[in-house]
């Protein structure tokens, strides 16, 4: 029990200010409010509304490094929103609480040989955290892995949720069935909103059967540009690749793949064994220099790609770029002219992971290169210095978009109680 619980709010605020100077540990220990359900959360939000406070929202805090460093008066901890509520594998439906740790979600799904098709990344190595966190954090950041290219993102699998808004009011959206167009699709909005609109508790997800096997085909290419074209060609065939990455030689070497002097285009095939074998044979016949790796090596390789392990030991800031796949070579070429950088690509070129020098210059150049090549989104994922002080970690919004975002934020959280400033200044 804390002293806080028994004392008056305002006095405690004064006390907090007093202790802040001594130790960060003390500061955290006095600001965390553990809630067990949405009713608790409602009460805390009501208090924050009254006191005009800003609240942080977190569970395991494994993604605390993402987004802006915002300052909160108190932090609501929703770790207790945990547990599987209902799992119907035959219906492809999983209902659970948002604070459920990912390892529990994954073991539950594995028991029925199913998965979350968007392939949740575990970025703990590059985010210097302990684990993949909770399903709520995954949804709040719309975190999606290699299969996103063909199967969709986290936002495509959230069917419905119960939440409490920054107004302190409970609401639900969506449903517990796969096909539903009743009312606005707030599931999409809430995914990737970094907890700035509402705190969700119960969420319902669409699950899918796990493919029986997967293998990968590696194609040496002259450079990134050739690899993007190679992959586009394979996607124009009926052989149904479901993930496609591009690793420059040095990065491939980190993954334990030794292909001399070449950039590697990597294609994953999944499904039933006869189908995978047949498709692999067709692709290898058409691309004779290809090399096949089997399920264990393939699974391990894609896990390293998914979790960005391949860049974890590189020095510098890590940026994540979402771009049109065919624009990737021009973007990388522009940046190579100016910086010493490492990179690899996922999503057939549409997702670039970059490591470059800390500071504003690299991020600014990255965003300019993106803008000059069909647009997209560049996000600072790992800040190795104090880059966030000088550059916005999420891509800044054009003014009309910003104004609309502000109005949307106000529709859910008019007094900026929840995770205020986490995504953008003023939102």
């Amino acid at each position: 029990m804390s002293i806080r619980a028994k004392c008056h709010f305002l006095i405690c605020r004064a006390f907090k200010v007093f202790v802040v100077g001594f130790a960060a540990v003390i500061r955290v220990s006095f600001e965390m409010i553990n809630v067990t359900g949405l009713d608790d959360a409602a009460a805390v939000i009501a208090g924050a509304l009254e006191q005009q406070q800003h609240l942080g929202v977190q569970a395991m805090a494994t993604k605390a490094a993402l987004g802006r460093d915002a300052d909160y008066d108190e932090v609501i901890n929703v770790s207790a929103f945990s547990g599987i509520i209902d799992y119907q594998p035959d219906e492809l439906i999983l209902t659970l609480r948002a604070g459920t740790p990912m390892h529990e979600v994954e073991s539950t799904l594995a028991s029925a040989n199913q998965m979350l098709a968007f392939e949740v990344p575990d970025l703990h190595k590059i985010l210097a955290s302990q684990s993949a966190g909770t399903i709520g954090g995954v949804l709040a950041t719309n975190a999606s892995g290699p299969r996103r290219l063909t199967a969709g993102a986290a936002r495509d699998y959230l069917l419905g949720f119960d939440a409490i808004s920054g107004r302190g009011e409970r609401f639900k959206s969506g449903g517990k069935v796969m096909k539903n167009v009743t009312g606005y699709d707030l599931s999409k909005l809430i995914c990737g909103s970094y907890g700035t609109l509402a705190i969700f508790d119960e969420v319902t997800l669409k699950t899918l059967p796990k493919p029986e096997i997967n293998i990968s085909l590696l194609f040496p290419c002259d450079d990134l540009s050739a690899a993007v074209v190679r992959i586009a060609g394979i996607f124009a065939s009926p052989h149904e690749p479901n993930a496609a990455a591009i690793l420059p030689q040095a990065i491939a070497a980190k993954a334990g793949i030794d292909v001399a002097g070449a950039t590697l285009a990597i294609i994953r095939l999944e499904g039933i064994d006869v189908s995978v074998a047949d498709r692999a044979a067709h692709l290898l016949a058409a691309h004779k220099e290809g090399v096949k790796i089997d399920i264990d090596a393939s699974t391990a390789l894609w896990q390293q790609i998914r979790d960005v392990d391949l860049l974890a030991d590189a020095d510098g800031d890590i940026w994540k770029l979402s771009c049109a796949p065919a624009s990737a070579p021009a973007i990388i070429a522009t940046l190579f002219d100016q910086f010493d950088l490492q990179f690899f690509a996922d999503w057939a070129g549409g997702l670039l992971w970059l490591v470059g020098p800390s500071g504003a210059e690299f991020g600014t150049a990255t965003r300019s290169a993106l803008a000059a090549n069909g647009n997209g989104h560049a996000q600072l994922i790992r800040d190795s210095g104090n880059s966030k002080d000088v550059i916005a970690p999420l891509q800044p919004l054009p003014s009309a978009h910003y104004a609309l975002h502000k109005r949307v934020k106000a529709a859910f959280d008019p007094r900026s109680v929840l995770n205020f400033g986490r995504m953008h200044d003023g939102i």
């Binding site: 993102a153 979402s322 069909g374």
Partner: protein, 495 residues
């Protein structure tokens, strides 16, 4: 159906408004005459008709923006319309609203194989996207049954599905970018040829917003390589319970078919009379299960599915061995609506979704409702995802039958929600299900949705009277009651 009280002052200004609109678009793009407007007085929910105040057919996005800005500044309501195929009245005109038709936006702007997408204007039909890319082996996956006529802009507004969305998703899962015109005439681009942006997913929330948040003036759609092989099974069952259960068995075996459709006895016979597709007339339920993908995979899975059907006690089973045969299997299903139209002067098509395991209970419920209302019902389902399309047969020339049919339909949708499902799986709420929203959502749920509406359209000028049963002023919705002086949950431990 009660629509918002028309603003007589606006109606009185009709001539001035039409004159002003002619300053903004080409003169012949404003349709003023009664006969001209009559062509736009209803959408696919033809039981409801209303002459619009005026019809405008802009030709450029700047013209859409100018019309929106004008209407916004004058407080005139706007109803957007694509091809007018909505089955829920989403494009039903209002007497005091300008109807903005997107019919002139009929061009495909960019076919981009390197990025596997098509950029198109919103008035292009759904099927035209596939037609534009099929010679190169690609297609656009969402395939609502109106695909020959419905527009891709309308697909975004309604988040349209189709028979293949179990495997390929709805519009929202196949949309990469949109250009949007807001009610105040702002032109915004959301998404693009890249996959995810890190902002609020406003494109996601625009999709399925039924024309209440903005007008879509351009779309970027993901295209897929056409599967190498498609084969289908046609399976009869003597009872619906077994048929419903076997759908779960297929998915439980780790197989996601491209489509899984179910029809009941009345629908089977009506379709067979119409299409001679070789459907088993005596069966209580019929399943059409389609698998697509590489040939060897499809052949292997067809065998696995056939075994599942056998062990579930199928009374008949056919497997397509040619494209001709596969198309014949589908011919009956695809003509189910006109086929039912032949056995009844009128029908109402409902569109709820239920958890699939409740299908047998739903069949029992529908039979008893059918008796209660004295009206027949034929059922076609997208069984894979639990989306029901009961067709309620009635005769509009009988004095009370439309009302009885509507009451019957409302009871079916109530049952859907009661069984853990939702009011609409793909047709939208529109005006048709507007007054039933309270069955699925609490007043607070709906108020939160309407607050989002206020962020886009604070004056409720865009498509009012649709989706929400009660219109609340945005000022009222935004009011926040803070309990001054109340302790902020003092008993909670703060660690």
């Amino acid at each position: 159906m009660q629509m918002p009280e028309p603003d007589q002052a606006v109606i009185d200004r009709r001539e001035t408004i039409c004159r002003d609109l002619r300053e903004l678009v080409a003169a012949d793009c404003v349709i003023d005459s009664v006969e001209g407007r009559r062509a736009y007085d209803a959408d696919g929910l033809s039981a409801y008709r209303q002459l619009p105040l005026a019809v405008v057919l802009p030709e450029t996005v700047q013209q859409i923006a100018a019309v929106m800005k004008y209407c916004h500044s004058k407080g005139i309501k706007v109803v957007p319309r694509g091809s007018g195929t909505s089955l829920s009245g989403g494009a039903l005109p209002l007497a005091d609203a300008v109807l903005v038709g997107l019919g002139k936006f009929n061009r495909i702007l960019d076919v981009d194989y390197a990025n596997r997408c098509v950029v198109a204007q919103p008035g292009v039909t759904n099927l035209a996207i596939t037609h534009a890319v099929q010679a190169d082996g690609f297609y656009y996956a969402p395939d609502p049954s109106s695909q020959i006529a419905c527009s891709v802009g309308g697909n975004v507004a309604e988040n349209s599905g189709g028979v293949h969305c179990l495997k390929y998703g709805l519009t929202t899962n196949n949309l990469l970018g949109i250009e949007l015109v807001t009610i105040d005439g702002e032109i915004l681009r959301l998404g693009g040829k890249h996959l995810d942006a890190g902002d609020y997913d406003l494109m996601g929330v625009m999709t399925g917003s039924e024309g209440l948040l903005g007008i879509v003036s351009e779309v970027t759609l993901r295209i897929l390589q056409k599967p190498a092989t498609q084969r289908a099974l046609l399976v009869g069952f003597d009872d619906t319970r077994s048929a419903a259960k076997v759908v779960g068995d297929v998915i439980g075996a780790g197989i996601i078919p491209a489509g899984m459709e179910m029809m009941d006895g009345l629908a089977i016979n009506a379709a067979e009379d119409f299409a001679n597709a070789g459907y088993p007339r005596g069966a209580a339920a019929l399943l059409i299960i389609e698998l697509d993908g590489p040939e060897i995979e499809v052949n292997t899975l067809i065998d696995r599915v056939a075994k599942i059907m056998d062990s579930a006690g199928a009374s008949s089973l056919k497997i397509s061995n040619s494209e001709e045969e596969r198309n014949l299997f589908w011919a009956g299903r695809k003509s189910a609506f006109p086929a039912v139209g032949r056995i009844s002067p009128d029908y109402l098509c409902m569109d709820g979704t239920i958890p699939r395991r409740r299908l047998p209970d739903m069949m029992v419920r529908m039979a008893s409702l059918s008796q209660k209302y004295g009206l027949r019902v034929a059922n076609v389902f997208h069984a894979g995802d639990g989306n029901l399309h009961p067709l309620i047969l009635f005769d509009a020339n009988q004095p009370d039958e439309l009302q009885r049919a509507e009451d019957f339909g409302a009871d079916i949708l109530r049952a859907c929600v009661e069984m853990g499902g939702v009011l609409t799986g793909e047709h939208g709420v529109g005006v048709e299900k507007r007054d039933l929203m309270g069955i699925q959502f609490t007043e607070d749920d709906m108020k939160q949705q309407q607050r989002l509406k206020c962020a886009f359209d604070a004056d409720h000028l865009l498509n009012p009277g649709k989706v929400f049963p009660h219109l609340h002023r945005c000022a009222e919705l935004g009011r926040l009651h803070v309990h001054k002086g109340k302790m902020p949950f003092p008993d909670l431990p703060r660690f």
